[in-house]
């Protein structure tokens, strides 16, 4: 405990963090908050709406691309599908590697590869998420019930049929629910990566901050908030609809 406190104090000193700076900053924060009122689109509403649409499509396409890449890897990394230890250890390790790089880093890499714009954003989201998605998928597959698999096997079904009928119907609703969750969180990520130039509403947010148009910054933040909340509600309904069909 004492050691942790010492490390904490040392960190504060080294990074030049002092209460006075926070105090002065607090005043600044108040001023900015004041300048934000009332939020205003400054006549750029349609432009911002378009950018928001772009952000949503980055999130959507990125999630879909990630899912497409993750699906085969999810099955390869599942112990009950691929008996070969080498294959699934290899699949697991490569997924972990991809997963450990943050979306912002991926965005910066892809901007250098394919140039500024939404395409880089889509690729960034896809590359950072395919690892986590594949891992989650493989775990869903591994916890699937073995009984339907044996049922299909005992009826004379081959390997692919046991996957198609024994596993896929079990894991599909779980996959769908995972995808919806990733889409939700990617709407937030897509805003952030817009700031480094990967397209979407984040770019406008950053520009308006630089030119100190705080009313428009506030407006943009509210737009993102409303969108994320709306997606939240819609995806929760969809998830329930997908999972809860039992007993209908």
């Amino acid at each position: 405990m004492a050691a942790a406190l010492a490390v904490y104090a040392a960190g504060l000193m080294m990074l030049d963090i002092s209460p006075t700076r926070v105090w002065h900053g607090l005043g600044q924060l108040g001023t900015i908050a004041g300048l934000m009122l009332p939020p205003s689109a400054g006549g750029h509403f349609l432009l911002y709406l378009d950018a928001l649409g772009q952000t949503l499509s980055i999130a959507f396409l990125g999630t879909m691309l990630a899912a497409g890449v993750a699906l085969p890897f999810g099955f390869l990394a599942a112990r009950n599908v691929v008996a070969n230890r080498m294959v699934h250890v290899l699949a697991r390790r490569s997924l972990d590697t991809v997963r450990s790089i943050d979306v912002l880093v991926w965005a910066l890499i892809w901007i250098n590869v394919v140039g500024l714009g939404p395409f880089a954003g889509v690729l960034a989201i896809a590359s950072s998420d395919c690892g986590s998605l594949a891992k989650l998928m493989s775990e869903a597959i591994e916890t699937a019930d073995r009984k339907p698999v044996e049922g299909v096997l005992a009826s004379g079904g081959g390997r692919l049929m046991t996957i198609r009928f024994g596993l896929v119907p079990q894991v599909l609703p779980i996959f769908a629910s995972q995808l919806l969750y990733f889409f939700e969180s990617n709407t937030r990520s897509a805003t952030i990566i817009g700031i480094v130039g990967a397209g979407g509403i984040g770019l406008h947010l950053y520009e308006q901050m630089r030119v100190l148009e705080w009313q428009e910054v506030a407006f943009l933040i509210l737009m993102v908030l409303a969108t994320v909340a709306a997606i939240d509600v819609v995806s929760r309904r969809l998830r329930l609809a997908i999972i809860g069909r039992r007993g209908a």
């Binding site: 004379g156 049929m161 079990q170």
Partner: protein, 266 residues
């Protein structure tokens, strides 16, 4: 004729089935009895190769079952349909699709993957459901059905495989007495009307005596009794089941309770 010749299965150090040999003529209704862990399930699973034998040979007619692989093994599994204690249906699919799993070996992969079943296969599945009195449930999701209904769906799946043998692994152990009777009656009908060989693991001796032509008793992975049901005397049954004897013979446990105080004070 199904022939098991000195079949052994060991898992790691423990032997589940040890040197089992038997001949089952076509059309016989064989009950495999014994207490839990006697190797009954493993024996059945060895026959359709869900479990690989460690040693020994299984044959059916001219077919060397133990040597099969690939499509030949899948076709053998079609010919010896299995019915499970827990039904092993696909809960999220409807009843008809579940029954049509029995047609997988007859259907090209792309067709079954897209569930584009052939018309006559669908008709066959429906006819099977009708025979078991559950055609009205064809469009229901399997996991919405009661246990008895699910087991009947599983029997339909077995029937449309057009099998020679039906392997039933404790088919009524998770059902109430009424449903147990329905399912056992259905198995009997399959045996009598279609002449299919039935190998049925049963825990309950009463059911075994009522339905089977022949009883095979197992204990500790070995066959210790193989005769007509009438030859199974009470003393043999006690030997087979040990402490479980009263429970499986469907007798009132009152006699036991009466003996308890004496046993406790002794």
């Amino acid at each position: 004729m199904l022939v098991l010749n000195d079949v052994t299965k060991s898992f790691g150090g423990s032997v589940a089935v040890s040197g089992v040999s038997m001949k089952v003529p076509s059309g016989q209704f064989v009950g495999v009895i014994g207490r839990s862990g006697a190797g009954k399930s493993t024996t059945l699973r060895l026959i359709n190769r869900l479990t690989e034998p460690t040693k020994g040979r299984i044959g059916f007619g001219d077919l060397d079952v133990t040597a099969l692989s690939g499509p030949a093994l899948r076709d053998w599994r079609r010919r010896c349909a299995m019915i499970f204690q827990q039904f092993n249906l696909i809960g999220r699919l409807d009843v008809l699709d579940n029954v049509l799993m029995g047609r997988l070996t007859h259907t090209p992969g792309w067709r079954s993957a897209a569930k584009m079943w052939r018309r006559d296969d669908r008709a066959m599945a429906l006819a099977a459901l009708e025979q078991l009195g559950i055609a009205g449930l064809a469009a229901q999701r399997a996991d919405n059905l009661s246990g008895g209904q699910q087991q009947r769906v599983a029997i339909c799946r077995a029937l449309v495989q057009e099998p020679d043998i039906v392997l039933a692994d404790e088919p009524v152990a998770s059902l109430d007495p009424r449903n147990a009777k329905i399912v056992m009656d259905a198995l009997q009908r399959i045996n009598r009307h279609f002449g299919l060989t039935v190998l049925c693991n049963l825990h309950s001796l009463d059911l075994a005596r009522t339905y089977c032509d022949r009883l095979v008793g197992m204990a500790g992975g070995r066959v210790v009794f193989d005769d007509l049901p009438s030859a199974l005397t009470e003393s043999v049954a006690r030997e087979l089941y040990g402490l479980e004897a009263n429970e499986v013979m469907g007798r009132e446990p009152a006699a036991d309770f009466a003996e308890w105080p004496a046993a406790l004070t002794a």
